[in-house]
Symmetry: C2
């Protein structure tokens, strides 16, 4: 199979290469693509060096599968071009997620909707994916009425320059110096910034709208009540989320643990009294969505609170995209 | 006036000295007290050196006001001793907060309840104080039905050793080394730890119960619905909180801003579209509760979301305690 990765030099793109390799995805030829700026760079795939090519129309000739992670503008431009040539595109940007004809897929939740794909499939936002992998099994049992998610999102979601900014900012502040941020609107080291993406006229951020709208689409619950505050924290890798969910029928913490212990993609790390709960530092590099601190919600009789942690570059991006490709393979839509 | 500070060498104790000095509280004699371990240490107050004395029964002789911040065990022991000698104790620990005879005071919210004091007055938990300074003016207008608070709490709430642990842990990780935490159950640098205090058998933390129970007591709303997740983040000073509040009558973000612009103790920093919102790094060292990101709650028709930031050592602890003492002065209960 001929597989292209657009945005191959970015944090998510590199992770896509490594996930394809680790999971033995049947890649016969790998075509790393990027903007003109990155063309010519060398990347390793399965121990062989590949040269990054500039994305252009002919780059998709004969390509079976393309994983995109080069930002919304590139996806808007190139996904239709690739799809028209018969390439199946799994797009990690937000460009196509809310388009009616584009399935928005978390394999553990709505993998069956892949049958509706017409060439472009959208990979949801990182923060949304991990919330739904944890909430969906509970929803199937007790029907979700509403949820409130507050996120603690790592800087790797922003890209390579953000990793450097956190590192440099931390060193500057620790040595008593000052620091002028370039990537974020405020210094991120030793701080918490309640802005991810731009704000609409009501002051709601793009990332907050993604949680609201993508959750509704993926769960097929257009009227689901979703409250959300998305916050960037000085963590390199791994997003954490404090979620409170209210269900139509009551669901005990014990029963929720039982369900999540056997839920696909979930790693239950939940024995708070013995000090067992997940954190971002431990979850970084892993594939699972780690769930802990499951407890009754002190604020509602049919509510549960949980703490959900995942590697945003893996399950939040590259891994979910490759899992979508694997599902296409096993259903015969990709061969 | 003879003023004692118990726990004078701790982070909050030192801040108490500095707040007393900055606000020109009428201190004629300052008596810094601590455990035997810290006795003999020297502290500066109004440019003069004072020697820390070990706390003992006679230390409260003739003392008009004692500010306590030496932990719950010390408060349990010494507050009744001091009160019996006629000293008014303002206690920053959690020891007396829920005691029926002890007023739990945020001056901007329930200062009038100081008239009921019988010698011991409790200073609420840091995270609770800042939430209520922001919510109370809105509650007076539209009647609070429930709120959900997720906290981003700085390490200074834990004490001096936690500041060192964050600093050392950050340097270790940045230089590629590993780090064995002593103060926290996990490394705090570049992480987020969903544990503050110990967990009860249901897996709810002490800090979460403080938000629930103290809010109900201070607002005089014993049935208020409160959901809470409290999280430690790698910030040196200043707590941030993502709050969603539901009111009985609907309250627009515009009206909420109008109310909070003139509310006591509040600094409105709210123009998200222009990049104006508060963060911990900016709030550190300031007296106000900074409120921003006021917006409609996407999850409920009568809800508002807000982002609330304050210096946990000042308004969250030392400043609130001194403001209580000032209120006692102006009402003639302390002279």
């Amino acid at each position: 199979m001929k597989v292209a990765v657009l945005g191959a030099t970015g944090l998510v793109g590199r992770e896509m290469l490594s996930v394809l390799e680790q999971r033995n995805f049947p890649v016969e030829e790998l075509i790393p693509l990027a903007s003109a700026k990155s063309a010519g760079k060398k990347l390793l795939f399965k121990g062989r060096e590949c040269t990054v090519r500039e994305v252009e129309k002919t780059a998709f000739d004969g390509v079976d599968l393309a994983l995109f992670s080069a930002g919304s503008a590139a996806s808007e431009n190139w996904a239709p071009v690739a799809a028209e040539k018969g390439t199946i595109v799994v797009d990690n940007s937000s460009a196509w997620r809310m388009a009616q004809d584009v399935p928005l897929i978390v394999p553990e939740v709505n993998g069956h909707e892949l049958s509706k794909q017409k060439g472009i499939i959208a990979n949801p936002n990182c923060a949304t994916i991990q919330a739904l992998v944890a909430l969906f099994p509970l929803h199937r049992e007790a029907e979700l009425e509403s949820f409130n998610a507050v996120t603690f999102q790592s800087v790797s979601g922003t890209g390579i320059r953000a990793l450097e900014e956190l590192r440099e900012g931390a060193l500057a502040l620790l040595s008593g110096g000052s620091f002028e941020p370039k990537v974020y609107p405020r210094p991120i080291a030793f701080n918490a910034i309640p802005q991810i993406g731009s704000f609409d006229s009501e002051g709601i951020s793009q990332e907050e709208w993604k949680m609201v709208n993508e959750s509704r689409k993926i769960l097929g619950l257009p009227d689901l009540s979703v409250s959300c505050t998305t916050v960037r924290v000085p963590v390199f890798r791994g997003h954490s989320e404090a979620i409170t969910a209210v269900f139509r029928t009551s669901l005990s913490p014990e029963r929720a643990r039982e369900i999540l212990r056997n839920a696909p993609g979930v790693n239950l790390v939940d024995d708070a009294v013995s000090g067992r709960f997940p954190t971002a530092l431990e979850a970084a590099g892993s594939d699972a969505v780690h769930v802990g601190r499951i407890r009754r919600d002190t604020g509602s009789s049919r509510g549960l609170a949980l703490w959900v942690v995942a590697d945003n570059l893996r399950k939040g991006a590259a891994l979910n995209a490759v899992q979508i490709a694997e599902a296409l393979l096993s259903s015969g839509q990709l061969k």
